[in-house]
């Protein structure tokens, strides 16, 4: 919904939205943040995994950049382009996991001209469920789930508490960072890092780190275009 003219502050606040069209900038910034953090993510993965997480992510996101340069579109479209590339071209576990993640968000937002706290909330919930449908990973396994699940929960809590989209996104950011950091003390139970057992303790999980970057960009770029 668009609001013309004046409205009460609280009304404006609870009605915070951004347009699906303007939202495409979120994907632009997601691509940038992955490209910029390619080395960092690989380095983290190198401590417990095979050191290619940044490479894998960068490959998919950069392919998406090329596709969007040729055929740009709104947020839901761009997310679905990203998802399709991750699913169809990247492989490994990362391709399908983040592919499902972005596909769920893109699908949830599809057809919505305006994206407010409810739309975003549904999208995040769909993303969590979609990943859960293909991965058995649970909180505590030292994966991206440790970032994603508490972040979505924090958003939902804010939403239930009647917070604004801005506030909910902010709550999500904080929880995502906390979730990411929580992986530091965990022993990996899934993926390559599980090989290390106790030795995987003491370093961040690469997927949890990239997931935190992604959620922060969604929050920050989203907030930037709120009106």
């Amino acid at each position: 919904m668009r609001f013309s003219g004046y409205a009460s502050v609280s009304a404006i606040i609870t009605m915070q939205t951004f347009t699906n069209k303007a939202g495409s900038v979120i994907v632009d910034k997601l691509i940038l943040v992955i490209q910029e953090n390619k080395q960092y993510l690989s380095d983290i993965d190198g401590l417990t995994g095979d050191g290619d997480h940044g490479i894998n992510m960068n490959k998919g996101f950069t392919m998406c950049r090329e596709e969007l340069d040729k055929n740009p579109g709104d947020l839901s479209y761009s997310l679905k382009v990203l998802a399709k590339i991750l699913i169809m071209k990247i492989g490994g576990s990362m391709g399908p996991l983040y592919g499902k993640f972005f596909k769920a968000i893109g699908t949830a937002l599809e057809g919505k001209e305006e994206i407010g706290i409810t739309e975003m909330g549904e999208a995040l919930k769909a993303a969590v469920n979609s990943i859960a449908s293909i991965s058995p990973a649970k909180v505590g396994d030292k994966t991206l789930i440790d970032t994603l699940v508490p972040a979505q929960a924090a958003y939902e809590r804010a939403q239930v508490e009647g917070k604004t989209l801005s506030e909910a996104l902010e709550a999500m950011k904080i929880a995502a960072a906390k979730g990411r950091d929580s992986t530091k003390d965990m022993v990996a139970k899934l993926g390559r890092a599980s090989r290390l057992g106790e030795r995987s303790r003491g370093v961040l999980d690469a997927g949890a780190t990239s997931c935190c970057l992604i959620l922060h960009v969604i929050a920050d770029a989203g907030k930037d275009i709120l009106y």
């Binding site: 095979d50 290619d52 490479i55 699913i87 071209k89 492989g91 391709g95 399908p96």
Partner: protein, 335 residues
């Protein structure tokens, strides 16, 4: 890293470039450069057989593409599942209208990518069914068979499924016999040294000298325990103690035995382990109907072996005896 490579990020591509030159009699490239097909695929009137997985397991997976074997393969990066598109393209080039059986190993990435490819393929009107090998006993306890990994038992699944398809079996026939092969197959691996993924540049884990990792996976996944290195006879006993009761294999059973090296274990040692396993089986009244010893399914240059047993019935025997021509397995019709 003592390796003959150029760009570490190009190892799979360069390998494939060479592979299609060396084996031009047998395989052809496809539009998807990571999908290699049997030269005469799709074979008219035959169910297509597809597999795929991460690279670094040579001759698996590509080495089992050929006559009466696999029709198309999706080749991922080293130890990394191929994306759904690759599986999809492999399905497409293998399909001759009789449907496609996708026979692969139980890994999270492969499960996800195959599932997505199957959805797409069905949307495009191709009938696809799957069998997921889960022969690696130590990777999950009895009762949780569904979460066990697939290891060298996959080869027997391809052999059997490939033969059934070549004999004219329907998609359901092929799926059924491949699933029977998997249900009747149990494996276990023992690791003696790690391997190095070229893009990573250092070993993926460590095994102390004088130790062995019992139940190791095909990518160096941890086993059930690390113990002092034992003589081959003890290793064979240890393996048999785990895999025989799991199926169980009983006196009077006939089996295929497959000992595969993991990369750097000399053939000589593989035969020595075979010798010890054979003695135990003979003692227990289990008859080896056919056996394979060699580097059938490797993990780059890991030292170690896997031991795989498949219990046979008449149908499986016929499939095992069937002529096939692939780089990894080449058999004249057994009379």
């Amino acid at each position: 890293m003592q390796k003959f490579i150029n760009d570490p990020s190009k190892v799979v591509d360069e390998m494939l470039e060479a592979y299609i030159k060396v084996h031009a009699d047998l395989v052809s490239p496809t539009e998807n450069e990571r999908v290699i097909k049997y030269k005469y695929a799709p074979v008219e009137g035959k169910v297509g057989i597809v597999t795929g997985g991460g690279s670094g397991h040579k001759p698996a997976f590509i080495g089992y593409v050929g006559r009466n074997m696999v029709d198309a393969v999706a080749c991922g990066e080293i130890f990394s599942s191929p994306p759904a598109q690759m599986f999809l393209d492999a399905i497409k080039v293998a399909d001759a209208g009789k449907g496609v059986a996708i026979l692969y190993g139980n890994y999270a990435g492969d499960n996800m990518n195959v599932a997505m490819a199957m959805e797409e393929a069905e949307e495009e009107g191709i009938q696809v069914k799957k069998v997921v090998a889960n022969d690696d006993v130590p990777s999950a306890p009895k009762g949780e068979e569904a979460s066990r990994r697939g290891v060298a038992g996959e080869i027997l699944m391809w052999k059997v499924g490939g033969a059934k398809a070549a004999m004219g079996g329907s998609l359901d026939n092929v799926i059924e016999v491949a699933q029977k092969a998997v249900n009747n197959t149990r494996s276990m691996g023992i690791g003696l040294s790690p391997c190095t993924i070229p893009e990573v540049g250092h070993p993926n884990f460590t095994i102390e000298n004088g130790k062995m990792e019992v139940g190791i996976g095909h990518h160096g996944e941890p086993g059930i325990e690390v113990v002092d290195l034992e003589p081959s006879a003890k290793v064979a006993e240890r393996i048999c103690n785990v895999i025989l009761p799991d199926l169980p294999f009983n006196s009077g059973d006939e089996v295929v035995a497959l000992i595969s090296g993991l990369g750097s274990t000399p053939l000589m040692e593989q035969y020595i382990v075979y010798n010890d396993v054979e003695k135990i089986l003979t003692e227990k009244g289990i008859k080896i109907y056919h056996s394979y010893v060699g580097n059938y399914f490797t993990s780059l240059e890991m030292a170690g072996i896997t031991c795989t047993l498949m219990k046979l019935d008449d149908e499986l025997k016929k499939c095992i005896d069937f002529e096939c021509d692939s780089v990894g397995m080449r058999q004249f019709q057994r009379l």
